[in-house]
Subunit: 196 residues, 2 copies
Amino acid sequence: MQNRAVRTRGAVLVAAAEQFDRHGYGGTSLSRISTAADLSTGALTFHFPTKDALADAVQWHGRHTTQLVVDGLTELRPPPLRGVVDLTLALAGLLERDVTVRAAARLSRERPGCPAVWCTAWNPALGRLAARVTGGPSPAGAAGPLVALARHLVAGVEVHLRCAAGQEGGLGASPGVQAEIEQIWSLLLHGMDLLK
Amino acid sequence: MQNRAVRTRGAVLVAAAEQFDRHGYGGTSLSRISTAADLSTGALTFHFPTKDALADAVQWHGRHTTQLVVDGLTELRPPPLRGVVDLTLALAGLLERDVTVRAAARLSRERPGCPAVWCTAWNPALGRLAARVTGGPSPAGAAGPLVALARHLVAGVEVHLRCAAGQEGGLGASPGVQAEIEQIWSLLLHGMDLLK
């Protein structure tokens, strides 16, 4: 019985993440989630009494998954600029593949009055890596813009995964989000001079 | 009487934009908008019969404002890389200051089955500028990553304007979004070599 309850809880979590990812916090109701999870509202609220409880669970699950990946990456002690690049690639991959991560990212912006849980899984590691990049013979104060750039790239991945317009405007077919991030970093690290 | 109707219509549009910007398409109802506009639902639906009609009006208003700014910028025929930088700065400024632009950007992602109106105001100009940048002695195929970078920066502005987490993680106080975009471009154009 307990295993079945755990399985049901897990299935509800994924169904809720799919709804929050697609319709946002404001556009998702408990009844929408119970329909998606193929459960009665009573059975749903046995596991999660409120929409807020579900949103909390989704955010913390997405944060936990992200933290595991970020810890795995930083434990390898990559050269710091490589680390910043790899961190953005890892986050892009998580956002692309894992619906609880994508929902956690969206909920972290949209829940009124709640802390932005998801970013706390990777912002500190990003800050440490960027500080190590610019701790050498590089220009003072560059850690801020490097952190900002990485955050913009991650935000862009999230937006473009949701935005059909990413493909619009006659700009040609878009590669996968990780390939796109790699191309952008490659331009920045090897080709930007040539554009000047 | 007609002037008053135009004024009311304009006030409803701004009230609707504020609600769509804050709560998204799914989280905004006609009754929420009528409360925000200080009108009865009947008076509201006299001007805009449905939520979709209001969302259309907000999207097209935000798109029109954006198109005017983009046209003004491209008519100056800036050097193309400067043009790409200025375009991202102009879009950041619009997103920061104009609630109909911000709402149009959000609605362009969130409305099920609708074309992403907002991006069509600036994606073509961005594509043309990027093609001119890379039409010279620069690496073949760099237009794609340059366009992708600019789009990620714009998406990042929108996300960070909404995300308190932009300030979290011990990364220090954030400057205004335009100043941040300028710092990122400055790092990319002048400082990236020094980080390697």
